[in-house]
């Protein structure tokens, strides 16, 4: 009962936030609505006891990706009018896509009524079940090969991004911190003994 109330509450917020992402004129509001949408979906996932995925969604998307996204959106002066110029022209495509998606969703929901239940009914897990533990077990045993390769894939992305964007400007003055630290008094100060002048 409580779960159902929570589910509908979160769903309402999620839908409102998702609508906000595409309807607000201010790109910063859009980004913030997206953050809210992520957060609410995480809450819904917790309701179905997928706590690991939920927390990771918050950690990765809300905590890191969207922060950088917001960073960029705030820095850029985006001309919303310009972005909207083609809106009416391509609107039919959007309507078409939306229509197809709705049709598919209805199809999925209706499938059970028609007797084609693809999920076969889910089996509830015992109370001490930790899906963090289960995911870890699968990831590091059965799929360890794919997991490691995915890590290499990310490494390639980093290397490529840095190689393609980092510019070493000529004549840039940078500090060599280890050299600064290693400096001794003798390198900088020379003690000169000056004989006091004699009064003539």
């Amino acid at each position: 009962m409580l779960v159902m109330i929570l589910f509908y509450a979160f769903s309402a917020v999620l839908i409102a936030a998702a609508l906000g992402v595409i309807t607000t004129r201010n790109p910063v509001y859009s980004a913030l609505c997206l953050v809210l949408a992520f957060f609410t979906s995480a809450c819904i996932w917790i309701l179905i006891e997928a706590e690991f995925l939920a927390i990771v969604l918050v950690l990765v998307y809300v905590g890191a990706v969207m922060v950088l996204f917001l960073f960029v959106v705030m820095m850029l002066d985006i001309n919303v009018e310009e972005l909207r110029s083609g809106f009416t022209r391509y609107a039919w495509l959007g309507w078409l896509t939306a229509f197809v998606v709705i049709l598919e969703l209805v199809g999925v929901l209706a499938a059970r009524r028609l007797g084609v239940d693809a999920t076969q009914g889910t089996v509830p897990v015992p109370a001490d079940y930790s899906n963090t533990h289960e995911l870890g077990t699968v990831l590091y045993t059965q799929y360890v090969y794919a997991f490691e390769l995915a890590a290499v894939l990310l490494l390639v992305a980093i290397v490529a991004a840095i190689a393609l964007t980092m510019r070493r400007r000529q004549g840039l003055k940078v500090q060599d911190i280890s050299a600064q630290v290693a400096v001794r008094r003798e390198d900088r100060v020379r003690l000169v003994r000056i004989e006091p002048e004699k009064r003539p």
Binding site: V28, I55, V56, L59, G63, L68, M74, S130
Partner: protein, 351 residues
């Protein structure tokens, strides 16, 4: 009377009461931390610190300074800049404060007191602390002020950078304890001072503490505020109670980081004499007082840093985070892997 006791026995009601108790305690602790800080810095600089407001039977002059400050902030006007984004401007302090308080839910305060004993507690901590940054960013953006914006940008970049080092340091903790549950992490360190994680994970503890200082935007990493450069950074336009909320969030975060450092590396609510003294000795008994002492020690460390070091330059902060702290954690995680393989350190029992 009976119906009231029945009501109190409900888990929902009990949890709510505990949440209130912990929240109010944290807020009170913040009030006294402020006093503590001003006194300590005063002593370090051969001053008396606040000594005017109240005293208890002639002792501790200035003990109620923080309450006076809060009262002052409460009755001051909250000035909203004309060009500011009003809704976001009002929302930002609350967004900053909520994660700082909500994270306390999973912190084990004593062997049997933790509001939410969840398995993925550590992930929850990481997730919530990473959302705290939104308060800062939104505050900086909504104020429509250049200084505030600069502060927010600095803060965002800094927190994202140090979160990575922090996360990696915690990976080492998870490796040592084999659990994401904070209570289990404390439990695994039982057996006296020498089995605390600080011994085997010393570099990670160091990284965690430094990152914690950076995450809370405290000196010497407080470029987000940087009075001498950008006035007060992201909260330059805030006044009155709105400012007080940011202040509260910052100190609640400091207390939180102190508590987490104690939990992850210093045995949380465990006694340091556990295992050296007989188990029934009062000094060896685990409990909240030990955690309280540890938190106070780390708070002192924060203030000590503030009184000692000048502010870092921004590019140096970034360099430290990306090029020093992250490699250290990576190397130590590898070392830990080797230790685990050969059954050295916390793994000797399991090996």
């Amino acid at each position: 009377m009976q119906p009231i006791f029945d009501l109190l026995a409900l888990p929902v009601v009990q949890t709510t009461i505990w949440i209130l108790v912990v929240t109010v305690s944290v807020i009170l602790a913040v009030a006294f931390s402020v006093l503590f800080e001003r006194k300590i810095i005063g002593w370090m600089q051969l001053r008396k610190g606040p000594n005017r407001v109240g005293s208890i039977f002639g002792f501790w002059p200035g003990v109620f300074q923080a309450f006076a400050d809060v009262l002052k902030l409460l009755i001051k006007e909250v000035v909203v800049p004309a060009q500011a984004n009003k809704v976001m401007f009002a929302l930002a302090p609350i967004i900053a404060l909520v994660p700082a308080l909500a994270t306390w839910a999973v912190v084990p305060l004593s062997p049997d007191l933790v509001i939410a004993n969840i398995d993925a507690g550590l992930l929850y901590v990481l997730a919530l602390t990473s959302t705290g940054i939104y308060g800062v960013i939104i505050a900086g953006w909504a104020a429509n002020s250049k200084y505030a914006m600069l502060g927010a940008m600095r803060s965002a970049a800094q927190m994202v950078a140090y979160e990575i080092a922090m996360g990696f340091a915690l990976v080492g903790v998870v490796m040592a304890s084999g659990s994401l549950n904070l209570g289990a992490i404390v439990q695994q360190q039982a057996g006296g001072m020498l089995t605390w994680n600080i011994i085997w994970l010393f570099p990670l503890a160091l990284v965690y503490i430094i990152s914690g200082v950076a995450e809370t935007n405290r000196l010497p990493f407080d470029v987000a505020e940087g009075e001498s450069e950008i006035v007060a950074g992201f909260h330059v336009e805030y006044s009155g109670i709105a400012f007080a909320l940011f202040f509260l969030a910052e100190y609640a975060n400091m207390l939180l980081i102190s508590a987490l450092t104690a939990v992850f590396f210093f045995g949380g609510w465990l006694s340091p004499f556990d295992g050296y003294l007989p188990a029934d000795n009062w000094l060896a008994r685990p409990g909240f007082p030990w955690l309280g002492i540890k938190i106070s020690a780390f708070m002192f460390f924060y203030f000590w840093l503030r009184a000692t070091y000048p502010r870092y330059r921004y590019d140096q902060i970034m360099r430290l985070g990306w090029k020093v702290l992250i490699p250290i954690t990576l190397v130590w995680i590898a070392v830990e892997g080797v230790m685990a393989h050969f059954g050295v350190g916390p793994w000797r029992a399991a090996g």
